[in-house]
């Protein structure tokens, strides 16, 4: 305790000085004897001594008070400096140069101030950098606190909603974010909190999870301009996992949607144009085969059948491409109705019989004695899936053989299966079989016309209707069995 030692040292010196003067005086006075001194003189001498002592104590006290005042002064100076630093003024100088604890405290404060200044400037730079990044992101970013108030809207967001940062800061998001659902023709967020349970922001708040904005949502900006948007709303959390607020990311997708629309229109028109001559070919060939132009001889019938099969193949290819384009465009719709699984088997068989006969394949159906429960599916699409599997089974069989179509059920689902004894699926490529455009090598040898789209579409359709699709094959030349399961409809 440097400061205490210093103070004590000064006081001790003074005390020694005082005693050094006083003791000889008292000694001389009492022992050298001033016998003649009267009682009253003695009393007055004692009074002098007492006064001298009192003066000494008084002087010592004054010195003490002076010390306290000066320490308080330093403390005050430092406290003021701390306050200035706290309010962000790092230019303050403490300026206390002492070698005791006060001086040390002052030096430590100075050092702390410098460290703070460095950190603060670093943070400020980081913040500026972050702000610059957020501001220059191409997508609109709006950050909310957990009371739905806007704490940040980047430049893209200000441009999108046509409001400035000043207008939006601290305001509830729904005062600026007007969202319109084009399909339902309703506002899902419109200046207030009424009827906005479909608003993605509210959904994210309720679910505490990221919510993606579905297709067909339009943002109406300040000037009433409708802009189709895409994006998401996600909660952001602190280190303890507490939700601090929400980040809304929006993107103007007007031009993308326009391109998608044009693409889908192109595919639609092209497929229409291609279908027109193909249906004409198909029907004329069918009339020839039906004998409407007179009986054909065996060879004529054979050739005409080939034309018929190729035409159907071309039509199927166009249909697959159209389906693929719809899948990619996200415009596939499933119009579900209650369907009897047996009906699908019957319809498939009557559709594929000509192909099976031409390929020397016998189709065997194995249905249980009891009728299967109904399934809630899109008839056309399930038919397409099962038909695709059976056509594959026929195309990938070798020579005279059988394809077995059967129905089974478990507690939850009805399972269609299609078993062939054809070329099988090599183990190595089994995981790729449902991938778009994938074709196994042994399949391309047998059937060069395949497109690699069929099974991909089957999987999308089956799963799109709540079902599943899978297969079993022991490997090449061991045949294969495909399964498609659909949930049993609730009664």
């Amino acid at each position: 305790m440097e400061i205490f030692r210093k103070l004590v040292k000064v006081r001790f010196f003074l005390a020694v000085l005082f005693v050094a003067f006083l003791v000889p005086i008292i000694f001389i006075y009492f022992f050298k004897g001033n016998q003649s001194a009267s009682f009253s003189e003695t009393l007055s001498h004692l009074l002098y001594i007492f006064i001298g002592f009192t003066v000494f104590v008084f002087v010592m006290s004054l010195a003490g008070i002076w010390d306290v005042i000066s320490i308080l002064g330093y403390l005050k100076k430092m406290s003021e400096a701390i306050q200035k630093v706290a309010s962000g003024n790092f230019n303050v100088k403490i300026g206390i140069k002492r070698r005791d604890e006060i001086g040390e405290l002052a030096r430590n404060l100075e050092w702390m101030k410098e460290e703070l200044r460095k950190n603060f400037e670093g943070m400020k730079k980081e913040e500026e950098k972050l702000n610059a990044i957020v501001d220059n992101v191409g997508d609109a970013i709006i950050v909310l606190d957990n009371r739905k108030k806007i704490i940040l809207a980047n430049l893209a967001a200000q441009k999108l909603i046509a409001h400035t940062e000043e207008e939006t800061r601290g305001m509830e998001y729904y005062k600026f974010l007007r969202l319109f659902d084009k399909e339902k023709q309703i506002f899902i967020c419109n200046f207030d909190t009424i009827n906005n349970e479909d608003c993605p922001v509210e959904k994210a708040i309720v679910s505490k999870k990221i919510v993606f904005i579905p297709k067909g949502i339009y943002l109406i900006n300040k000037y009433g301009v409708k802009i189709e948007i895409d994006g998401s709303v996600a909660p952001y959390k602190d280190l303890r996992g507490e939700i601090m607020g929400y980040v809304i990311v929006l993107r103007d997708v007007t031009s993308e949607r326009e391109v998608e629309r044009m693409k889908s229109e192109f595919v639609s028109i092209t497929s229409h144009q291609l279908r027109t001559p193909l249906s004409s070919i198909r029907w004329y060939v069918e009339m020839l085969l039906d004998g409407d132009a007179g009986e054909l001889n065996k060879l004529q019938k054979d050739f005409t059948s080939e034309v018929h099969q190729s035409t159907k193949k071309a039509i199927e290819l166009i249909n697959n491409l159209l389906d693929l384009s719809r899948i990619e465009g996200g415009t596939i719709k499933y119009s579900k109705q209650l369907i009897s699984p047996e009906q699908i088997i019957e319809d498939t068989i009557s559709d594929v019989i000509p192909l099976a006969e031409a390929s020397n394949i016998k189709i065997i159906k194995k249905l249980g004695k009891e009728a299967m429960p109904k399934i809630s599916v899109d008839y056309q699409k399930v038919f397409q899936v099962i038909q695709n599997l059976v056509v594959n089974a026929i195309n990938y069989s070798k020579g005279k053989s059988e394809v077995i179509l059967s129905l089974e059920k478990n507690d939850k689902e009805v399972i269609f299966s299609c078993k062939d004894s054809g070329i099988g699926i090599p183990k190595g490529v089994q995981k790729d079989l449902f991938k778009k455009f994938f074709r196994a090598e042994n399949a391309t040898v047998v059937n060069a016309q395949g497109s690699g789209i069929g099974l991909f579409i089957c999987k999308v359709f089956a799963e799109g209707m709540g079902g599943r699709i899978w297969f079993e094959s022991e490997g090449e030349d061991k045949g294969s069995t495909f399964y498609v399961g659909f949930p049993i409809a609730d009664r």
Partner: protein
């Protein structure tokens, strides 16, 4: 007034701009014992709906002068002809068009390339039978 159907032959009006397809309908339906009247654009088609008063109308969608959807709308809005069943036979195959056609009151929507001509004939016969019973 149209002449009475001799031998009770049903009559089908085909509104279709593709001449080749028209020929298929004419030949095939005649073989099946069905009389056929044809129209190759929308306006002629709508006129013939009234002059022929057919038992069934086969309607294409992409037609010159007046689209199939417009014709269907007008037929279904007129009590004199709205009872005549209409089968849309088009090569437009998007759900959008199928949904619209059915919503406008068509009795069926067939994508031409996806069915055999025999299936078309069966569908026509079936629809005529169903309408007669009503």
């Amino acid at each position: 007034m149209p002449e009475d159907n001799i031998q009770n032959q049903p009559k089908v009006l085909v509104i279709e701009d593709d001449q080749r397809i028209n020929k298929v309908y004419t030949v095939k339906l005649s073989v099946e014992g069905i009389k056929v009247a044809t129209a190759i654009d929308g306006e002629e088609g709508l006129r013939k709906v009234y002059s022929e008063l057919p038992d069934l109308i086969i309607l294409d969608l992409m037609l010159p002068k007046k689209s199939g959807f417009e014709i269907l709308k007008e037929i279904k809005a007129d009590s004199r002809v709205k009872h005549i069943p209409v089968l849309i036979l088009s090569n437009l195959a998007q759900e959008k068009e199928i949904d619209e056609g059915m919503a406008l009151g068509a009795d069926g929507y067939i994508v031409k390339s996806n069915v055999s001509i025999q299936q078309v004939v069966e569908k026509i016969k079936e629809t005529i039978e169903k309408t007669k019973k009503k």
